[in-house]
């Protein structure tokens, strides 16, 4: 493990790659866990805020204004506001990660529900459905493609951001990248980056699969 960049060193040290499979697997689990927590918490909070915005229209613009500011603040800056309170901890990393998912998810949920044609909601009311029944059995299912598209964007963004949480003691693949920088060891930094991109691609494809499965009517239309 004492490999240092030297002239004449091969571009990629394959021996290092082949002997660190266990580390990579461990980092993958950590990276996936950090991402999953952020997405899960982000989705619950976004659902609540989107419901508030749909119920009371006036709250939509303050909600997007506030989450927009959270989205604009750089992740490192957000860490710095949290470190004095929570230290270099999982909480610090997760609060920052969650705050980046909110704007993306809320906008997609609200836009998805809004895009449901009026005649469908009116028809369901005409069939005697209550507002809640209309929401759960008509609006939400039809908004699902938009919501899942939001989750895909949030997931891919979060997976990239997780690498930075190594600076507050977490990190997943970020650990490889930071060690690569410290030792000026290209292979390790490259492994961290490539694995992060791969995880993003796999998760994105998996969520696309979920969307196809959850909205069979849309798939049928698209494949015809």
């Amino acid at each position: 493990m004492t490999v240092v960049a030297q002239s004449g060193q091969p571009f990629i040290d394959w021996e290092w790659v082949l002997t660190h499979g266990d580390d990579m697997w461990e980092a993958t689990l950590e990276h996936a866990t950090l991402t999953a927590i952020a997405l899960g918490v982000g989705l619950v909070l976004s659902m609540i805020l989107a419901l508030v915005a749909l119920q009371w229209r006036r709250t939509y613009s303050p909600i997007t204004w506030f989450t927009g500011i959270l989205y604009t603040i750089p992740s490192l800056a957000l860490f710095t506001f949290l470190v004095p309170v929570f230290g270099l901890s999982l909480t610090t990393a997760e609060i920052a990660l969650v705050s980046y998912t909110l704007l993306i998810l809320i906008r997609n949920i609200v836009a998805g529900v809004d895009a449901v044609p009026d005649h469908l909601t009116e028809a369901s009311r005409g069939m005697g459905m209550t507002n809640r029944q209309t929401f759960v059995s008509v609006q939400l299912p039809l908004a699902l493609p938009a919501i899942i598209a939001g989750i895909r964007i949030a997931a891919v963004t979060t997976i990239g951001l997780v690498t930075v949480t190594v600076l507050v003691g977490q990190g997943g693949y970020g650990v490889f990248i930071l060690r690569g920088i410290r030792r000026q060891f290209l292979t390790e930094a490259l492994v961290g980056t490539v694995l992060s991109v791969l995880l993003a691609v796999v998760v994105d494809a998996a969520l696309l699969g979920v969307e196809r499965w959850a909205t069979p009517w849309a798939t049928r239309k698209a494949s015809s």
């Binding site: 998805g112 895009a115 493609p145 938009a146 598209a149 992060s196 991109v197």
Partner: protein, 255 residues
């Protein structure tokens, strides 16, 4: 808590912390200069092909790929990969960390610029383009007199989105030894100095929000028709159906 903010204010009130190479002024300048150069280079590389492809209404696949790859690529990783590479190339080795950071910033800024410019030019009302042709305009005239002015707000929205990410990410330059405002954060982490960390974060956040608001103002002024497009339709984080990437996707499938 009150004591902590007292320390932060005391740090900011001390003139010694503002001047000199390690001062706030110099580090803010370093931060702004690398961000500006990064955005400028990305404009030069991304906008001409995007505008051309939008004009010829081809290359939707390139636009979708650009935004997807851009979103999945961790900038921290790009800095980490570029750092050893730039160090091994003599004329890129100094100032330390500068070129690695700059390359990451350029790569980060290009996708949102490219997609917004591409979609902006391509989605100009076909009726207007036909009318311009009917008036006898050449392809070049249609591009410069109709398509480009009408798509300016969208192009500027892409530049704004990119610039805000660039200002945020320039902070990472400190990890590879470059200056900028990230220096306070990284040094603060290393020394366990919460005041230093907080000051760095505060300044970076102010700079990012300032960039967003400043370029937002420029964007409004740049609209030749002075009608305002809802923000949702311009941003990459916009909802689906309205999401620029998906927008491009559905467009190409139809073609």
């Amino acid at each position: 808590m009150i004591e902590f903010f007292g320390d932060v204010i005391a740090f900011l009130a001390d003139p010694e912390n503002w001047t000199g190479t390690r001062g706030i002024l110099n580090r803010t300048w370093q931060h702004i200069s690398i961000s500006t150069i990064g955005v400028f280079v990305a404009c030069l590389l991304a906008l001409p092909p995007a505008v051309y492809l939008g004009h010829s209404r081809r290359g939707g696949f390139v636009a979708v790929s650009a935004v997807n790859i851009g979103r999945a690529m961790p900038s921290f990783g790009v800095v980490g990969v570029m750092f050893p590479i730039t160090l091994s190339i003599a004329f890129l080795a100094s100032p330390i960390g500068y070129w690695a950071t700059l390359i990451a910033l350029v790569l980060l800024a290009m996708p949102p610029m490219f997609v917004n410019a591409y979609v902006g030019v391509r989605e100009v009302d076909p009726a207007l383009v036909e009318a311009a042709r009917g008036m006898g305009m050449t392809g070049r005239e249609v591009l410069t007199k109709v398509e480009m002015p009408l798509s300016t707000p969208l192009i500027m929205a892409g530049v704004r989105t990119a610039a805000v990410s660039v200002v945020a990410t320039a902070t990472l330059g400190a990890v590879v030894g470059y200056g900028g405002l990230g220096r306070y954060i990284i040094d603060g982490f290393a020394q366990g100095n919460d005041v230093l960390i907080f000051v760095g974060g505060l300044l970076v956040a102010l700079l990012a929000v300032g960039t967003e608001l400043g370029l937002g103002w420029v964007e409004k002024r740049s609209d030749p028709t002075q009608r305002s497009i809802p923000d949702d339709e311009k941003r990459l984080v916009a909802p689906v159906g309205l999401d620029t990437a998906d927008h491009v996707g559905s467009g190409t499938e139809a073609r």
